[in-house]
Amino acid sequence: MNEERLPLLSRPPQEIAVRVVVYGVLILVAIYFLIPLIVMILTSVKTMADIRSGNLISWPREITFDAWKEAWGTACIGVACSGVKGYFWNSIRIVVPAVVISTMIGAVNGYVFSKWRFRGSEVIFASLLIGCFIPFQVILLPMARTLGALGLSQSITGLVIVHIVYGLAFTTLFFRNYYVTIPDDLIKAARIDGAGFFRIFWKILLPLSTPIFVVCIIWQTTQIWNDFLFGVVFSAGDSQPITVALNNLVNTSTGVKKYNVDMAAAIIAALPTLFVYFVAGKYFLRGLTAGSVKG
């Protein structure tokens, strides 16, 4: 970890100018990044009358949190008028097992692809990576058929399995790239000492894997929490995730749209992932730094 860097910008008068440029660019770009969030927050605290008559990027005439209360507890999504709170817990029930299992399998796969290579393993790895590139719309019908044949259609189990299967390519990629940077000598020494496949994994690699676990968990959580397509097709009624509920709320076809409730609900839907990024962001970077992306 190179926390101490040389002062690369080493000449004083120029240094100030360059630093001004650097800070300037960073802050301008930060504004570009923040604008949508600001718009969403401002809209969520306005009243409908305000939104209808005013500018969509304007300061609210009066600030009210009614839209938030409605979004959480009373907004009508389908025939149930109890807001998004139920769907929130559904998403958690889907995300937690899917993330945990896909990460574990990815870890073991990464271990094999980096330390126990055999003839043809690179081909298998490449074939796995290619799976990253199919657009998910293509697999909806065949997967529905498969799940139906297995008796798992419209169930949370089925949806979790789908998420695991399509997350394997990335989790394996992350772990493999990380384990490749761990010196092979460590493994060789352990084998001479008589340690077997799982023992090496358990005792040597896992303890070193915290950073990449963090990266993987953050990535998978974001992907699965924010997924809409699989959620809408492979779940049913009460077990729908929050993205489906949000879509239902926002997309009324011929009814009156309540933009403030929509925005409030959207922010609520985003809170867990935002939380993960704010809190774990530092560890995320540490995880990436610790060699996860080098070769």
Partner: protein, 418 residues
């Protein structure tokens, strides 16, 4: 001995318990996209009625894409072998589902409820597959409305037009006075809505039937169709440049706020006016689209019923179908949604003035043979053909394609989609 008796007693209690539960309670799983606001409340009415009869309603709401997402879900479930009990499907798609052999037969309910006499022929035909009822209609929306802000007209010194020639003159006056003549939402279904109204007006009912219901290539690539595109191009000259992508309700807002004079939209636009506290006849006027006063382009939402094995579910299904066609649901649902009942001969008391106009128009046009299914709202042609028409029309509206070229492309794209 004692143990056996004990065990038998437990069994007896359990069995008795099973019977004491309402033996006629079935569950209906309903797939629909009426997911928020007034629409959701309307569906809630049906749920309550069904539950009062002891059945349960399992909601499967999927919004987005005007039903597009719901259809994806429905197809996936059909492929998985687990379709819902009822699904919100309308128009010729009902026949397509019938072709798959997965729909149930509602003839018993229809006979008992006298559906053949209570529904206009055009509507009943859509609900049937090979002569048997497979779907039940919920409401009737009229598409070819023009929503007008009379104040804007007054300020511009213009008159509300009833022909396209008049429209061109009056719109020019409005534009000169600094207002936007037509509030336009640049989305393909909205553009198609205006297009089909123009086809009805310029070409007449028979031409509309030939072109947009039969999808006859002769009619699609004809001088009349070229004239329709000409009219559409003329109307496009009176919209503002920010129209592409605009949602329909934001366009209605332009009329409400007095920025624009007119909007071409179906009767659900009324809900926006009402929510903004505007009064019909005073703050806004509902007129038929120019030259379509005798014609009625309808959109009927309906539920198709799938073949289910469970007898309880079947009973619940039939109860749902029966309840939908009964006056009580028809009234409450349609008052909430801004449409009119599809059941003929109902009391009009609960409905407002524009709805009354719609009632009259519905009956009159049914008798005159100008009650026609809306192409833009999936009532007239198969989705593949509708999609092809949409692509041609939206491309026309957003580029400088010539009128005759557009008509030619229309015919060829529709052919390709068949």
């Amino acid at each position: 001995m004692k143990r056996i008796t004990c065990r038998w007693m437990i069994v007896a209690v359990l069995v008795a318990g099973m019977f004491s539960y309402n033996a006629f309670a079935g569950e209906v799983e309903v797939l629909h996209w009426w997911t928020s606001g007034g629409e959701a409340k309307s569906v809630g009415v049906l749920k309550d009625l069904l539950e009062k009869e002891g059945h349960t309603w399992q909601d499967m709401a999927v919004a987005g894409g005007g039903g597009g997402n719901a259809m994806t879900v429905l197809k996936s479930r059909a492929v998985a072998g687990k379709p819902p009990t009822a699904a919100q499907v309308k128009g010729p798609q009902i026949q397509q589902w019938g072709d798959e052999g997965v729909l149930t037969n509602l003839d018993d309910v229809a006979r008992a409820g006298n559906w053949d006499t209570l529904l206009p022929g055009v509507v009943a035909d859509i609900m049937k597959y090979e002569g048997h009822y497979v779907a039940v209609p919920v409401n009737v929306h009229k598409i070819n409305w023009m929503w007008v802000n009379p104040d804007v007209f007054r300020k511009a010194g213009a008159m509300i037009p009833t022909t396209w020639a008049q429209f061109e003159e009056e719109a020019a006056k409005i534009k000169k006075a600094g207002f936007i003549p037509v509030a336009w939402g640049g989305q393909n279904w909205q553009e198609a809505t205006v297009f089909e109204s123009i086809v009805l007006g310029v070409g007449g009912a028979a031409f509309y039937e030939q072109a947009l219901v039969q999808a006859d290539p002769q009619a699609l690539n004809s001088p009349t169709m070229v004239k329709c595109f000409e009219t559409l191009r003329m109307v496009l000259g009176f919209i503002d440049k920010d129209a592409p992508g605009r949602d329909w309700n934001l366009a209605t807002a332009m009329v409400i706020q007095g920025k624009a004079a007119m909007q071409f939209m179906g009767d659900w636009a009324k809900g926006e006016f009402t929510a903004a506290g505007k009064r019909p006849g005073v703050d806004y006027v509902a007129m038929p689209v120019p030259e379509t006063s005798g014609g009625y382009l309808f959109n009927v939402d309906s539920f198709i019923m799938f073949d289910v094995k469970d007898t309880e579910a079947q009973k619940a299904q039939q109860a749902m179908a029966r309840l939908i066609m009964e006056p009580r649901f028809q009234e409450v649902f349609n008052v909430n949604k801004g449409s009119i009942p599809c059941r003929l001969g109902m009391s009009r008391m609960a409905f407002d003035a524009p709805a009354h106009m719609s009632f009259d128009s519905f009956v009159a046009s049914a008798e005159a043979g100008s009650l026609l299914p809306s192409m833009a709202h999936e009532m007239a042609v198969y989705p593949a053909i509708r999609g092809a028409i949409f692509d041609v029309v939206t491309n026309f509206c957003n580029s400088t394609v010539a009128n005759d070229r557009a008509a030619k492309t229309l015919a060829s794209e529709v052919q390709s989609a068949m």
